[in-house]
């Protein structure tokens, strides 16, 4: 029961984008190792973005282009 509720809660967070930053951090950790070996990505070595900065970028990107229909 508890795990089902938890699963639903995760889906809601996922759908609404509430967990976007956590996913970003995970993704960052996953790919950071590869990126440090590329010379053209020095900014990534400065560590991940702060939550506020990430959210700014995320929101602006999400709203670029056709996102809603009739």
């Amino acid at each position: 029961m508890h795990s089902t509720l938890n699963k639903i809660w995760q889906i809601i967070r996922r759908l609404s984008g509430d967990d976007a930053y956590e996913r970003y951090l995970k993704n960052y950790a996953h790919y950071h190792h590869q990126e440090t070996h590329q010379s053209d990505a020095p900014s990534h070595c400065a560590g991940p973005l702060s939550k506020a900065a990430f959210f700014k970028q995320w929101q602006d990107e999400k709203w670029n282009g056709i996102k809603r229909c009739c």
Partner: protein
């Protein structure tokens, strides 16, 4: 044994579906239970999803679960990201389902419940769902490219330009007609006007909360917003009952139209986080919540349908919009059966999240099935009303007369009895002064929904339910309006950058202001004319929108058919080719009638000529004579626009036929642009969430 059970179950579903469809089609009695509609829909959806969609996925498209999708290959943790299929389904559905599937069926109910229902069901499973699914597949095989880009790459520059032009045109017409729907719901209704206006500061507050107060706390902010929205419905009643406040929110249609234009302009230039993004969150929750509530109410109550299967208006004399059953039912219901706009979401946006090609059936085909189901529910909500009431709400004053007595006499003379008292009682119950001539579909849908919700969850709350329904419709109409204006602005900036590169800088203020102003004046013009037109602009604007949307669908299907032929799948090309043929037929017929018909309610040019004559010989009343020159000009513009739409459609179809012919004749055609097969690693690693 298991196999036999399986066959038995599917045979049972097929028979149940067939008898439900038969029951709906044959019934000519007093009324029919709405449960038949639900049953017919669910059986048809189940069978088509299980067999047709699955066959398309495995045999025609040959989806490959070992192939890495763009989301995996280009994963950047933001827009490209492999995502669980149900989450993608949620995003995709929230993006495709706008106000269209609610409004179209409501308007098409003037022909009776049968034609619209059959078109929603069969149009979706054979046309709309296939379009969405195939477009999603093609885009995900091409690094999530947009429809316009695919048209350009696969057919040639002509196709790309046509797709871009069609998208821009549809955006302008769509926003105008949606604006008109909101204006008609708010005019002289202080309650609705207050509630709808309140959604703007609420969205801003939520935007500020998410961006600055508690950055990224999307759910917290959303809950706050939803609570405030519900309070704004209550607040509207307070305003409505207060004499001084009442006047502040009691406005003519034209004043409201200007305010909506000002709002659209502001929304296009304000940063997204302040208005667009938070409003979208709120509208998505409202949309999903209300649609679920509506489904529960319909399934629990199983209301009887009061509208006849067919009305006399199939002959083209309908009061809501003119034109015969063929082709206009297919034009009026675009979203819910087949909607070209979806191809823009299915290419570009959704493929960036797709973690495996096998999810395409659920997201592309299944997402559209759900939208079709929303359209069926809208059809039920419109047809559970007394037909007399339905026509009284949806017929414009220019058709049935401005006085209540004239209107009820006229509507009753059609065989749909309704009385002034009945309308007054209903308006009073809904907390309105009048419900006559509230055209556009939103108010009648809100009355239908309020009566359903009222019977299911409390009769004494009718007025609250009505205004809740209006708020629910208005909030995502306005979301489409501001998102559309912004997209229009970007497209225009992109086009202008070819002439002067600086115009393409999306953050350069002069360019932003200029392009936003052009886009707003574009749809603002049609909205303005729609509001001053005594015949109600819906009669003109909705068919134009339908033609534009079907044209976009035809472009998407042309691209898909062209690619199927080029991939040497000519024998399968009918899956998109037949819906395309049907769309060409209905769009061309409708456009032809709109251009050449002698009937002044149908033909644009004949209406313009008629008005010119009447103006010249002075037979128009003074009020109408004053606006006649504008109406004449507008009718001519509408006629030319229709001609452009249909020409554009033929250009792209012929271009596709040309490419196919050359390919089949062994000549050189633009090569397939499918990206190379890279094996997916997600299958073994299972890091899909």
């Amino acid at each position: 044994m298991h196999k036999f059970l399986n066959i038995f179950i599917w045979l049972f579903i097929a028979m149940l579906g067939a008898s439900a469809v038969g029951g709906i089609a044959i019934n000519r009695g007093e009324s029919i239970n709405s449960l038949w509609f639900i049953t017919a829909a669910l059986c048809i959806y189940a069978i088509s999803y299980r067999f047709y969609a699955s066959w398309i996925a495995t045999s025609v498209l040959v989806v490959d679960k070992t192939r890495a999708t763009p989301a995996e290959r280009l994963d950047n943790g933001r827009d490209f990201m492999p995502t669980h299929k149900w989450v993608v389904f949620g995003h995709h559905f929230a993006a495709i389902a706008g106000p269209g599937p609610l409004i179209g069926p409501t308007l098409a109910a003037q022909f009776g419940y049968l034609p619209g229902t059959l078109w929603i069901l069969f149009g979706a499973v054979l046309g709309g769902c296939v379009q969405d699914m195939v477009t999603l597949f093609l885009s995900s095989r091409r690094d999530a490219k947009s429809l316009g880009q695919m048209a350009k790459d696969e057919l040639g520059p002509l196709g790309g330009t046509a797709a871009l032009t069609a998208t821009f045109a549809i955006m302008i017409i769509l926003i105008a007609v949606l604006g008109l729907v909101v204006v008609n719901a708010m005019k002289h209704s202080p309650w609705a006007t207050f509630t709808v206006s309140a959604t703007i500061p609420i969205a801003m507050l939520v935007g500020f909360y998410m961006r600055h107060f508690r950055p990224g706390q999307v759910l917290e902010a959303s809950i706050l917003g939803v609570v405030l929205l519900l309070l704004s419905v209550l607040g509207g009643r307070f305003v409505d009952e207060n004499e001084t406040l009442r006047h502040l929110f009691d406005h003519e249609g034209l004043t409201l139209a200007w305010s909506i234009m000002a709002y659209g302009f502001a929304a296009a230039i304000l940063p997204v986080w302040l208005l667009l993004a938070p409003r979208d969150y709120l509208s998505t929750y409202m949309k999903i919540g209300t649609i679920t509530l509506l489904a529960i109410a319909i399934i629990c109550l199983q209301p009887a349908i009061k509208m006849p299967a067919l009305t006399q208006f199939i002959d083209g004399t309908g009061p809501i919009f003119s034109g015969k059953l063929f082709p206009f039912v297919f034009i009026t219901i675009a979203c819910g059966a087949i909607s070209g706009f979806h191809a823009l979401i299915a290419s570009g946006t959704t493929p960036k999240l797709l973690s495996n090609e096998t999810d395409i059936r659920l997201i592309g085909y299944g997402g559209m099935l759900l939208e079709s189901f929303v359209a069926i529910m809208a059809m039920i909500a419109a047809t559970v009303l007394d037909p007399g009431v339905y026509f009284a709400i949806n017929s414009s004053a220019g058709v049935v007369g401005a006085e209540a007595v004239d209107a009820v006499a006229k509507i009753s003379s059609w065989g749909y009895p309704v009385t002034v008292e009945q309308m007054q009682t209903l308006a009073h119950q809904m907390g309105e002064t009048t419900l006559f001539a509230r055209t556009g579909g939103a108010p009648s849908l809100a009355v239908g929904m309020a009566s359903l919700f009222g019977s299911a969850f409390g009769e004494h709350l009718l007025a609250l339910w009505y205004h809740f329904a209006i708020m629910f419709e208005a909030i995502f109409i306005l979301t489409t309006l501001d998102a559309g204006t912004r997209v229009g602005r970007f497209m225009l900036q992109d086009i202008l950058s070819n002439i002067w590169p600086k115009m393409g800088e999306t953050s350069w203020t002069p360019s932003v202001i200029l392009t936003s102003a052009i886009v707003v004046s574009g749809w603002g013009y049609f909205l303005y004319i729609g509001v001053i037109d005594p015949n109600g602009g819906v009669n003109i604007l909705w068919p134009l929108f339908g033609i534009a949307n079907q044209m976009l669908a035809a472009i998407a299907l042309s691209v898909a058919t062209g690619i199927l032929v080029k991939s040497d799948k000519l024998h399968y090309a009918w899956i998109t080719g037949l819906p395309l043929l049907w769309l060409i037929t209905i769009t061309s017929t409708a456009a032809w009638q709109k251009i050449t018909s002698d009937n002044i309610r149908l033909g644009f040019f004949s209406a313009a000529n008629d008005l010119t004559e009447k103006l010249a010989n002075g037979s128009l009343p003074a009020a109408k004579a004053a606006i006649a020159p504008q109406l004449i000009l507008n009718l001519q513009i509408d006629g030319w626009i229709t001609l452009c739409f249909v020409s554009l459609l033929w250009v792209i179809v012929l271009d596709m036929v040309r490419v196919c012919y050359k390919h089949l004749a062994g000549q050189v055609v633009p090569p397939l642009t499918e990206s190379a097969h890279i094996p997916s690693r997600l299958v073994e690693e299972w890091i899909r969430d």
